[in-house]
């Protein structure tokens, strides 16, 4: 019997014109590890929801075909019944935590499934320990960071111990160290306990080769369903951005071999030491220099920090969850004041795009949303219209101009939030985790955008856990820990020679960015031709 089975499944959300799932036929056997890839809005999340019966029981809409979970038809069984067989970790941790404390959150599902009371505490504690959340088990969930909340959300599903585990971008808010630990845990659960795992993820670097199958989706359809090696060959053309960075580098350099892991890539092209002349580009005029201390509750969020952000530069702030990255960025924007120290020079106009794009959705149309800041600044109507049009074009939102912002997908909302700030042409622009929920193709466009803005003289600061994005976008990588700046380094040095906070290409080839890696891989062949 299949763990999950979709037979000719099509689904349309209530009021939607296009189907979210269109003729899905797929069977997933018990114990398989399946990686689900595809662009934002391609139907991955809907597929996962359908596997738990949330589509259509919770969302309504029109479902055709048949979905079965462990032999149970989801039409005949509600999600609460199916939850005995399948667990789902959602993308947004804040929207899936029910209780007030992590230990109770981990116990919640077990209580619902009717586990014996003495067993609940043990399983909840084990699950929290597995994701490194034991130290925060008794803290109020409302004070936890996004990454900590994500860990709790994962633990609360792991505790239930169902034979099928679905995860929708579980690592989008986690720093690389924790993300790696978590993905290792998921693989271990699959290998050791035979749990069927279906995982939707944009950052495919770690899992692509581990999967038994890779399923690629586009416009609600399955375009590829094959083993990782076969899928990599099928996707190497126009959809190469779903592949792991090392695979992309080999595909783009025209090589026949497509390694799926760092190890395979090293075997094919031994890593090179970082370029000897790794130096930071000449320090430009600083748009903002932050030096001082900031206390948030009991924590020294900034502890004697002293760093600046230069005009025309893209600075990536990296570090573990709680390192003080967001606090530093907010201080630089003038949104938080230092307890001691100063912000000098301070940017005359700063824009901050936070982690939750919903906070930027306060108008009835996308165009009004983008125009909001310009109206506040008193920009004349004609000029306003021109800048709104240009910004919508730049962020690929022109088609949604008259749409209500809340009707947009999460990736589109993210772009709208950025557009609504970028339109002001700020002197300093901070993007806090801008790649959360953003697919590889859009991520590449985001790299282009920040590079363009920097070329126009904007000081761009990107707070990110996405080392591959940092490698592509940044001129400077500022590493932080415990409220302090550890180092300002060039990406080639920082992201190619680090241990954990390093891009996959840095690990594999000693080159942080895709362009450098492709150049490295094409060099020998060009030399041979000469």
């Amino acid at each position: 019997m299949a763990a999950l089975s979709f037979e000719a499944v099509s689904y349309r959300y209530p009021g939607a014109e296009a189907p979210a799932l269109d003729g899905i036929d797929v069977r997933i056997d018990p114990g398989q590890l399946v990686l689900l890839v595809g662009s934002s809005g391609s139907g991955k999340s809907t597929l996962l929801r359908a596997a738990l019966g949330l589509v259509p029981h919770f969302h309504g809409g029109e479902l055709r075909g048949r979905v079965t979970v462990a032999g149970l038809d989801t039409r005949d069984h509600r999600p609460a019944e199916l939850a005995r067989h399948v667990g789902l970790v959602f993308q947004d941790p804040e929207a899936q935590l029910v209780m007030g404390r992590p230990d109770r959150e981990a116990a919640f599902g077990l209580e619902n499934l009717g586990h014996a009371p003495h067993e609940i505490g043990i399983r909840a504690r084990e699950a929290l320990a597995a994701v490194g959340a034991s130290p925060i088990a008794h803290r109020p969930i409302s004070v936890l960071s996004g990454g900590e909340q994500q860990r709790v959300a994962i633990a609360s599903v792991l505790a239930m111990g169902q034979p099928i585990l679905l995860l929708d971008e579980p690592t989008s808010q986690l720093d690389p160290v924790v993300a790696e630990e978590l993905l290792g845990l998921v693989v271990r659960i699959n290998r050791d306990r035979g749990v069927t795992v279906v995982l939707a993820e944009h950052r495919t670097g770690r899992l692509f080769a581990e999967a038994d199958r890779v399923i690629a989706m586009e416009d609600g359809r399955i375009t590829v369903d094959a083993s990782p090696a076969v899928a990599a060959r099928a996707l190497r053309g126009a959809a190469a951005w779903v592949l792991p960075p090392v695979t992309q580098a080999f595909a783009r350099s025209g090589r026949e071999e497509l390694p799926l892991t760092v190890r395979d890539a090293r075997a094919l092209a031994p890593p090179q030491p970082p370029s000897p002349a790794v130096t930071l580009p000449e320090a430009p005029v600083a748009t903002a220099i932050v030096s001082g201390h900031k206390q948030l509750g009991d924590v020294a969020a900034l502890d004697g920090v002293s760093t600046g952000f230069g005009a025309g530069r893209v600075t990536a702030l990296i570090g573990e969850n709680g390192a003080g990255k967001t606090t530093l960025a907010r201080v630089a924007c003038g949104l938080l004041e230092l307890d001691r120290g100063r912000l000098r020079p301070a940017p005359s106009r700063a824009g901050y795009v936070g982690q939750d794009p919903a906070h930027y959705l306060v108008h009835d149309t996308v165009a009004d949303e983008v125009a909001y800041a310009l109206r506040n600044l008193g920009v004349a109507a004609g000029e306003r219209e021109r800048r709104v049009g240009e910004t919508l074009e730049q962020l690929e939102l022109t088609a949604f101009r008259a749409r209500h912002p809340r009707d947009l997908s999460s990736g589109e909302r993210q772009r709208l939030a950025i557009a609504s700030v970028v339109v002001m042409e700020p002197e300093l622009l901070v993007l806090d985790e801008p790649t959360r929920g953003v697919d590889g193709l859009r991520k590449a466009r985001l790299v282009e955008l920040v590079r363009t803005l920097a070329a126009q003289g904007t000081a761009v600061v990107v707070v990110t856990h996405d080392m591959d994005f940092a490698a592509e976008a940044a001129d400077v990588v500022t590493s932080m820990a415990a409220g302090r700046v550890l180092a300002d380094r060039a990406p080639r040095e920082s992201l190619a020679s680090g241990i954990f906070f390093v891009s996959q290409l840095g690990l594999a080839l000693g080159r942080a960015s895709l362009a450098d890696a492709v150049a490295l891989l094409t060099e020998p062949r060009q030399a041979a031709r000469v």
Partner: protein, 274 residues
Amino acid sequence: MRPLPAALVCAAPLLIAVAAWNPLWLAAATIGAGLLLLAAPPPRRLYAVTAISSGVIVFALNPFVSVQGLTVLWQGPHIPILDTQVTAEELAFGAGAGMRVAASALAVAAFVRLADADLLLRAVARIAPRSAMIAALATRMVPALERDAAGMVTAARTRAARMSSPRTAAGLLGPLLATALERSLGVAEAMEARGYGGPGRTRAPERPPGRRDWALVAVGAAATGLVAAALAAGATGYRYYDTLGDPLQPEAIAGALALAALMAAAAGMVRWLR
């Protein structure tokens, strides 16, 4: 804190606020409820500001909407609809009514901040799972609303909005509510996905109540008992019109002092429990 002791200690000032008119009793209830809220975990400011400002508004408006009392303190110009003759009785009644409003709001706020929402949810879930789900969504909504409000203000500030403008602030209320509703839907979906509403629900064992919990139950029961007895004996009444009665009756002084002492003791214990 467990819901039962929280309910008991908050019930006493709430009962006074609802049923009593004696200014001494009302002052004791307002101070007591305020102390309880002060001892509760944060956030408290929004609750305190809302409760106290509501009371102040009632106090300030009463002399101008009420036409009673014989001790005239001030005679203003004639303004249609409003009564511009201010009497001592109207001011005293306004103070009493304001304290009733403030004390009841503070007592409810103290309960919201003191009672453990998870334990409350578990208790209600056994009897009425759907109601418990709504309660869970509501309790999640309050802190999420606060965070979203802060996030929206930041987002507006970074887009050059003047947050001092009431119009700008008011314009964020609708989107704030929409965001809160979106989140609630997400939580409701997650609850279903984790088997909520299925048959055979069990409960994880909780730490049994300790001596401190029982001590608080005792203080709360004593305060509620005192108030119930005073109400039953008619010792909490007071005459505001046509002329003010004497509030300083020995039984009112003794009762109000006892209530204030019990509330202070309860607040101290709450602090100790935290």
